[in-house]
Amino acid sequence: MSELATAATAGHTERSGSLWADAWRELYRNPVFVVASVVVLIVMSWAVFPTLWTSTGTDGGTCELVDSRLGPSSEHIFGTTFQGCDMYSHVINGARPSIIIAVLVTLATTLIGVALGVIAGFYGGWLDTVLSRITDVFLGLPFLLGALVFLALLGEQNIWTVSAVLVVLSWPPITRIMRGSVIQVKALDYVEAARALGASNMSIIFRHILPNSIAPVIVLATLYLGGFVSAEATLTFLGVGLQIPEISWGITVAQGQDYAIAGYPHLLIFPCAALIITVLAFIVMGDAMRDALDPRGR
């Protein structure tokens, strides 16, 4: 495995400053990336400033049970939900948990993964052995089943516990890749040169190793963002994700699915479309970044 991770990251490492500059130039000239970024920015604004988009406030507005499951109309352009709330408001407000979870978990896993990957890869020895075995334990846990076990233990299910569990299950691949990447960069001539010039470990790590080994992790992290949006929905569907009265896409989709087939398609279509487009945008961004950061793919 570690051999594979090393091999998989091969070739990312020679360039540094110019790599990032080149990548950026490549990206902003890529129309697909630009469109995806705009979508992500819009969804982010739903999450951060929902009141810009809807007048019903962040709790989804007043819900009248007698208005349950109405189809789209001028008053409710996306129709109403099961509880008779405005679906449009739910779609906008539902972005918040998804985005918080996606961003939070991605940041945390990247930090943990990079830190542990650098420690294992740079120092090696017994530290590497112990860390690698611990990584194996968590890597081997099947994702969904692991999440089930952890969330069932916590008993309480909200944005923070779901995020925590996703972090626990998602750091190992990043650690793996980072470790491989670091091992490779460590062996390069300029690191040897820096060492020969008497640079401290810390300065070698931060000045030479990190900038040159982090590219594959950045790419994976972008793909993770989309993955966690999906994961929230799936965990909610399985009954161990977010709970009402929280408004989230996962809850709305899981609830809407039951009724979509029974003649209320708008209960599924609108929240699901929001979810799919967001995930799609994150994946497309990740793809474009990979292409940009890996000139061989051009």
Partner: protein, 333 residues
């Protein structure tokens, strides 16, 4: 190679022990925090204390350490381990031996996984090759877009839509028009015991759909890179046909990362099948663990999840071995 495999196998031991202890500890803490899972067996009724105590004792949940939050209950763990060494893996709350539960569930999930892996590899690699050799053409864009879309749709939505489409429309039509039984079974709504392979085809496709996208994209990228390699130019200079250049010289090199992914995915599929299994009513491993987690059946959770971890480890070992077979430059000492 032999020594390498042996060394890797030895490394499994601490990982598996770690997994088992982790799960044990989680379950222990879970009981300490959430309470005795036996109480839930009686629903809203409060069972008489002696009934509750008797059942709690029968399932070994009467250890006083379960009352002390944070206590790792090492004694219970050691008992369990020594039980394992004697082939005793415990029972669930229905007193079914876990070995039997696994023996029932695992073959179904293995079949499902085989179908999913075959589907995602064959179709994924094919799509990746088509996209790769026509880079930026219509086929490439179409394949990239459709596979990304499939990745973006939550599996529980995709699964139900496919189930309705294939089961209620195609399947019923086939049966009404006198299609052979195995064929209509292939498009049945749920798993059918009489057709253990045919009725898993559609669920296998749903299960493999997610990875299919990754494999297609991985193959594409890898192939595009390989096609630029000097040895591909050499092959063309030798007057080989395009099919032979792509199919033999480039593909074999491109497949190395793809095989890596498929191998790792093998373990993930076995453990990740629970949503698909649920939708298609497949009595597999995912549903087994899912039910056990909800009920708090610790022995089932530990045994099955550890088994899945072992599958994952073996799959990654297999990948590394295969890696050396595919690429003669790699030597494991």
């Amino acid at each position: 190679m032999g020594r390498y495999v042996l060394r890797r196998l030895l490394q499994f031991i601490p990982v598996l022990l770690g997994t088992m202890f982790l799960l044990h500890y989680l379950q222990t803490v879970s009981i300490q925090i959430n309470g005795n899972p036996i109480t839930a067996l009686f629903g809203d009724r409060q069972p008489p204390p002696q009934t509750l105590a008797a059942i709690t004792t029968a399932f070994g949940l009467d250890d006083p350490c379960l009352q002390q939050t944070g206590n790792p209950c090492l004694g219970m763990f050691l008992d369990r381990m020594s039980g394992y060494t004697q082939g005793d893996f415990g029972v669930d709350f229905n007193r079914q031996p876990i070995t039997r539960l696994i023996a029932d569930a695992a073959p179904v999930t293995v079949r499902l996984t085989i179908i999913a892996v075959l589907f995602e590899s064959l179709v994924g690699i094919l799509a990746g090759v088509v996209a790769g050799i026509r880079k930026n053409g219509f086929a490439d864009n179409f394949i990239r877009l459709s596979t990304t879309l499939v990745i973006s749709v939550p599996v529980f939505v995709l699964g139900v839509l496919v189930q309705i489409g294939s089961g209620l429309y195609v399947g019923v039509w086939l049966r009404d028009n006198g299609a052979p039984e195995w064929l209509s079974a292939a498009f049945s709504v749920t798993y059918q015991t009489d057709h253990p392979w045919a009725s898993l085809l559609v669920p296998g496709v749903v299960l493999g759909a997610f990875s299919l996208g990754f494999i297609a994209r991985l193959t594409r990228t890898s192939l595009i890179e390989t096609l630029r390699a000097d040895y591909v130019r050499t092959a063309r200079a030798k007057g080989l046909s395009r099919r032979r250049v792509v199919g033999i010289h480039a593909l074999r090199n491109s497949l190395i990362p793809v095989v890596t992914y498929i191998g790792i995915d093998l373990g993930a599929l076995m453990g990740g099948a629970l949503v698909t299994e649920g939708i298609f009513n497949i009595p597999g491993v995912g549903g087994l663990v899912f039910g056990s987690v909800a009920a708090g059946e610790t022995p089932v959770i530990i045994a099955v999840v550890t088994m899945l971890t072992l599958v994952f480890l073996l799959a990654s070992l297999l990948v590394d071995v295969l890696y050396a077979v595919l690429d003669p430059r790699i030597r494991y000492e």
